[in-house]
C-alpha cells in the first residue's frame, strides 16, 4: 500500500537518500537491465535481441528514427506489450513480461507525449490522482490532496496554482503536473517520451532543469527526443536503436549531432546551406505593411517574392504563429495592409485564404492536419474534395485515388498503398501527407509552422528537399521554426521576431546559426 510517507523519501537531499538497487555483485546502482529482448509484429521485427542497462541517477537518451523500436521498447517496460523472448531484470529480479500495474508498482513511470492528464480536474487532483486512487479508502481528503501536490511540486522546484482547472493552464504547466504526478508514486525510473516536442522553447529550459534535479536525487531517467541539441544538454549516455537493433551505447563526448544522425539513420547528411537563386525583380507574391493585432504583434512589414523562402525565428509568444494565423484567416489583424499578388487581402476565414492561394501547415499535425483513421489518399484529397467530386457532387473514389497516388509519389510517402490509414505511418511520413494535402490545393504561398517537429532526421531532410523544390517552382514559402539550423539551411532570409515586432533580419553572410542564436538570447 502506498501512503504519503513513501513520498517523503524523495525529499531527502542528494546523497542522503539510501542507495537504490540491490547491493552486491558488481552492479551496485543498476536499476533495470534488458536482456535479449525481442518482439515481432506481423511483417516487422520491432525489437531484435536488444540488451540495455539503466542505472540510478543517470539520464539515458534513447535515440532512434521513427520505426526504430523505441516505442515498442518503452511499451515492454511499461507493461503494455509482452516481449516474445528476453528478460526484463528490475533490481536483480527477472521478469518475462510486466503488466502495467506491476510496472507502476516497481516504480516505473512513463510520461507519454500526450501527458495523460485530466483537463477537467484541478492541478492538485491531477498530481495526487495515483495516491487517491490506489488507496484502500473510499473517501477523498481535499487537504491531503493539496499536501501531496504541494510536496511533489516542491520536490520539482515548480509552482502551479493548485486549484486551477488543469485544462485551462498552458502546456508547460500541464507537463509539470504530469511529472509531479509521477513523483507521488515513489518513482525510480521515469521515461519521458518526447517531452519537449510540444513545449515552447522557454519552457524547455525549465523542463531540462527539472530533469537535472530529479537525476541528482537518484532517479533514473530515459529521455526520448528528436531534438538532438537538447539531448546533448542532458544526456549521461546515449543509446541508439536502428531497425529494432541496438547500434550502440555511447558517452556524449564520443558523439556529435552529425555522428548521432548517422548512427540513427545509417545515412550521411551534409549539413550545408542549399539556398537558391530567385527572381529579385519579380512582383512580390505577398506584401505586408504595418500589420498589427493588439497584444500579439505590431509594426510588421515584409514582402515575399516568388521562389523565396523566408524564415521567422523567435520564442513562442513572440507573435510568429499569431502572424501566420492572420495570413491564413484565423486571427484577423486590427490594422495594417496585406497585399496578395497586387490585390488587398484580409481573410476572415481559412476558406478565403485557401481560395486566394495560401496554405498553412500547422505545427500540431495530430490535432489539426489529419484524419488519422482515414486512408492516406482520402486525407490528401480532402483539401480539394470539391475538385475530386464527380457529378451531383458525389465523391469519386477513382479521382481520390488519382490525386492520392500522384502526391504519394511526389512527396515520397513510404507506404504499401494509398488505402492504408494515416495512423499506420511514422511521424515523418504523416507530415509528408499533411504537406501533400496542402500542396494539392496548388498554393502560391505555403506557410510552414515548425514543419519538422518530432520528426526523425531522415524524414526531416526529405521534407526540406520538398520545400526547396516547391520554391524552385515559383511558390513563396514562409517557414516558422525553433530549429535554427533548419532555418539557416533552407531560407533566403530570416526575420527574428521579438515581443511582436521584427527585431532583425538576417540574410546572405549574416545568416548563420550563431547570429540567430545570439539574437534569440538577447530577446530572452
Amino acid at each position: 500500500m502506498r501512503t504519503s510517507e513513501n513520498i517523503g523519501t524523495h525529499v531527502a537531499p542528494a546523497g542522503v537518500r539510501p542507495a537504490i538497487g540491490f547491493v552486491g555483485e558488481n552492479h551496485i546502482m543498476e536499476l533495470l537491465r534488458l536482456e535479449g529482448l525481442s518482439k515481432r509484429y506481423i511483417g516487422t521485427q520491432a525489437l531484435d535481441a536488444v540488451d540495455m542497462t539503466i542505472e540510478a541517477g543517470q539520464v539515458l537518451c534513447l535515440a532512434g528514427a521513427n520505426g526504430s523500436g523505441k516505442s515498442t521498447l518503452i511499451k515492454c517496460v511499461a507493461g503494455g506489450e509482452t516481449p516474445d523472448s528476453g528478460k526484463i531484470i528490475w533490481q536483480g529480479q527477472a521478469y518475462d513480461s510486466l503488466t502495467p500495474s506491476q510496472s507502476m508498482a516497481l516504480g516505473i513511470e512513463i510520461i507519454y507525449q500526450d501527458l495523460s492528464i485530466f483537463p477537467d480536474l484541478t492541478v492538485a487532483e491531477n498530481i495526487a490522482f495515483h495516491v487517491v486512487q490506489s488507496r484502500h479508502r473510499s473517501w477523498v481528503d481535499l487537504r491531503e490532496v493539496d499536501r501531496i501536490a504541494t510536496k511533489a511540486l516542491h520536490e520539482l522546484g515548480a509552482d502551479l496554482p493548485l486549484h486551477a482547472r488543469l485544462g485551462d493552464l498552458p502546456i508547460g504547466a500541464r507537463q509539470t503536473a504530469a511529472i509531479a504526478r509521477a513523483l507521488t508514486q515513489d518513482c525510480r525510473l521515469l521515461v519521458m517520451d518526447e517531452p519537449t516536442t510540444a513545449l515552447p522553447s522557454r519552457d524547455v529550459a525549465q523542463l531540462l532543469s527539472m530533469v537535472h534535479r530529479l537525476k541528482s536525487k537518484g532517479m533514473a531517467i530515459v529521455f526520448i527526443s528528436h531534438k538532438l541539441d537538447e539531448l546533448f544538454e542532458i544526456a549521461d549516455r546515449f543509446y541508439v536503436l536502428r531497425d529494432g537493433r541496438k547500434v550502440g551505447d555511447y558517452a556524449p563526448a564520443e558523439l556529435t549531432t552529425t555522428r548521432l544522425s548517422y548512427l540513427m539513420t545509417g545515412v550521411e547528411f551534409k549539413g550545408e546551406k542549399t539556398q537558391q537563386e530567385f527572381e529579385q525583380i519579380a512582383t512580390p507574391l505577398l506584401v505586408v505593411e504595418d500589420l498589427r493585432r493588439r497584444d500579439q504583434y505590431h509594426d510588421v512589414s515584409f514582402s515575399l517574392r516568388p521562389g523565396e523562402i523566408i524564415g521567422f525565428a523567435g520564442l513562442t509568444g513572440s507573435g510568429r504563429t499569431e502572424l501566420a494565423l492572420t495570413l491564413f484567416g484565423l486571427n484577423p489583424a486590427d490594422a495594417g495592409k496585406i497585399t496578395l499578388a497586387g490585390r488587398p487581402h484580409s481573410p476572415r476565414s481559412p476558406r478565403e485564404a485557401i481560395t486566394n492561394g495560401i496554405a498553412l501547415v500547422s505545427e500540431d499535425r495530430h490535432g489539426q492536419g489529419l484524419f488519422a483513421r482515414k486512408a492516406i489518399m482520402t486525407n490528401i484529397a480532402s483539401s480539394v474534395f470539391e475538385r475530386s467530386a464527380g457529378r451531383f457532387g458525389l465523391l469519386s473514389q477513382a479521382s481520390e485515388r488519382t490525386i492520392g497516388d500522384t502526391w504519394i509519389d511526389k512527396v515520397r510517402v513510404k507506404t504499401p498503398s494509398g488505402e492504408e490509414p494515416v495512423q499506420s505511418l511514422s511521424g515523418g511520413n504523416q507530415q509528408k501527407v499533411v504537406l501533400a494535402k496542402w500542396l494539392a490545393t496548388d498554393p502560391k504561398i505555403l506557410i510552414l509552422d515548425n514543419p519538422t517537429v518530432g520528426i526523425d532526421v531522415g524524414s526531416k531532410m526529405e521534407i526540406h528537399d520538398i520545400v526547396r523544390q516547391l520554391a524552385r517552382q515559383g511558390r513563396g514559402v514562409i517557414m516558422i521554426s525553433d530549429d535554427l539550423e533548419e532555418l539557416v539551411m533552407s531560407c533566403n532570409r530570416v526575420f527574428l521576431m521579438q515581443t511582436g515586432t521584427l527585431a532583425a533580419e538576417f540574410h546572405g553572410e549574416t545568416l548563420t546559426v550563431e547570429n540567430l542564436s545570439s539574437g534569440l538570447r538577447q530577446t530572452s
Partner: protein
C-alpha cells in the same frame, strides 16, 4: 486610398465588437460562470411570472415547485453521474417504472405494507438493472447510448410480455404508497386551507447529498470525472473501468428506482406505459445545468438549477398566458442558448492558447 482606410476601420471596429462580446460572455471561465447565467435566467423568468400574477411569489408556489420537481431531480442526479463519466443513460425511466411496478406488486403480495420496504425493493431492482448496464458496457466496450437504449426496450418488453403488466389503480395500490404521495412534512395555514411541504423533500435531500458526496468526496467519484475527462489516461493510470461503471450505473439505477416509487405515489397510478418518452427532458435539464455529453463536467448544483428551470417552465407557462405546449419550445431554446454559450467560452479559452479545435 481613402475607401481602403474606412474598410480598415470597419474591420477594426468588428474586432473590438468581438472582444466586447468575448468579455461579456467569457467572464468567469468554467462551469461557475455558466451557472450564474442560468441562475440569472431563472430570476428573470420568476420576475416575469410574478409581474403577471403577483400571488406567484408565495410559499405555496415554492412548495409546489419542490413537490413537482423532486422526483425528476432525483433521477436527473443519477443521469448526471453517468454523464460525468462520458456516458449517457436512456433506460432510467423504463427502469424507474419497472422498479416501482415490481415493488408495488411485491408489497401487495407479501402484505408488508411499508414504504421503507417498497423503497428498498425498488432501489435494489433499479440498482441491479443499472449494474447490468454497467457490466455490458464494460465487458463488451459498447457505446453507452446503444446499451441503455437496448435496455429500455428489454425492460418494456419484460413488463408487457413476461409480467403482463396492466395498470394498477389507486384503489389497488398499497396504502403506504398512497400516503407517501400526499403526506406533508409540516404545514402552515394559508388563507382558507393549509399549505404543506411534501415529504418528497426527504428523498430529494438524500439524493442531493449522496450524489454530491459520491462525485466530490470519494475516489470513485473523482475517477468518474477522470474517465470522462480523458479515458485513455484513466486506463493508463490503472483506473478499474469495470468497477467504476458498475458503481455509477447501479447508482443511477437505484435513484431511478427511488424516483419510480415517488412518481407512482404522486400520480396514484402504476402504469407501465407512463414516464417512458420523457428521457430527453431530463437529459436536457442536466445539460442545461452544465454537464457535457463528452463527460468530465457537470455538478449537483447545475442539475438543481437546470431542473428548477425546467420545472418552472412546466408549472408556470399557463400562469403567463401560454399553453403548456410551449414548454418544450422554451426548454429547447434554453438548451441551445446554454450549449452555445458554453461552446463559445471553450472556443475563447482555446483561442487564447491558439488552439482551433472547435471553430
Amino acid at each position: 486610398m481613402k475607401p481602403q482606410d474606412t474598410g480598415k476601420k470597419v474591420e477594426a471596429g468588428g474586432a473590438t465588437q468581438t472582444r466586447l462580446l468575448a468579455r461579456l460572455l467569457g467572464r468567469g471561465v468554467g462551469s461557475q460562470g455558466g451557472l450564474s447565467l442560468l441562475a440569472f435566467l431563472i430570476v428573470v423568468y420568476v420576475v416575469m411570472v410574478a409581474l403577471r400574477s403577483p400571488d406567484f411569489l408565495s410559499l405555496a408556489s415554492l412548495f409546489d415547485l419542490i413537490r413537482s420537481g423532486a422526483a425528476w431531480t432525483v433521477v436527473a442526479l443519477g443521469v448526471l453521474v453517468v454523464m460525468v463519466s462520458g456516458g449517457i443513460d436512456v433506460s432510467f425511466l423504463a427502469n424507474a417504472i419497472l422498479s416501482a411496478y415490481v415493488a408495488t406488486v411485491i408489497t401487495k403480495w407479501t402484505g408488508l405494507d411499508s414504504l421503507a420496504f417498497a423503497l428498498i425493493v425498488a432501489m435494489t431492482i433499479g440498482a441491479l438493472v443499472g449494474a447490468i448496464n454497467g457490466l455490458i458496457i464494460s465487458l463488451f466496450s459498447l457505446p453507452t447510448l446503444i446499451t441503455t437504449l437496448a435496455m429500455q426496450g428489454v425492460i418494456q418488453g419484460v413488463l408487457m410480455v413476461f409480467l403482463g403488466a396492466g395498470p394498477i389503480t389507486a384503489g389497488h395500490m398499497p396504502k403506504s404508497l398512497r400516503y407517501f404521495g400526499t403526506d406533508v412534512l409540516f404545514e402552515f395555514p394559508d388563507g382558507p386551507g393549509f399549505v404543506g411541504l411534501s415529504v418528497f423533500v426527504v428523498p430529494l435531500v438524500f439524493a442531493v447529498v449522496a450524489t454530491w458526496y459520491l462525485l466530490n468526496r470519494t475516489a470513485i467519484g473523482r475517477a468518474t470525472y477522470a474517465i470522462g475527462s480523458n479515458r485513455l489516461a484513466a486506463i493508463r493510470c490503472g483506473v478499474n473501468l469495470l468497477k467504476i461503471n458498475l458503481v455509477i450505473y447501479a447508482y443511477a439505477g437505484a435513484l431511478a428506482g427511488l424516483m419510480g416509487v415517488m412518481m407512482v405515489s404522486d400520480i396514484r397510478l402504476v402504469d407501465p406505459v407512463t414516464l417512458v418518452g420523457n428521457e430527453l427532458l431530463v437529459l436536457a435539464a442536466v445539460v442545461i445545468g452544465g454537464a457535457k455529453l463528452s463527460g468530465g463536467a457537470g455538478s449537483v448544483s447545475g442539475v438543481l438549477l437546470g431542473m428548477t428551470l425546467v420545472t418552472l417552465l412546466n408549472n408556470t407557462l399557463v400562469t403567463i398566458g401560454l399553453s403548456a405546449s410551449w414548454n418544450k419550445f422554451f426548454i429547447g431554446c434554453a438548451l441551445v442558448l446554454i450549449a452555445s454559450i458554453s461552446h463559445y467560452r471553450a472556443k475563447m479559452r482555446n483561442l487564447r492558447q491558439l488552439n482551433f479545435d472547435n471553430i
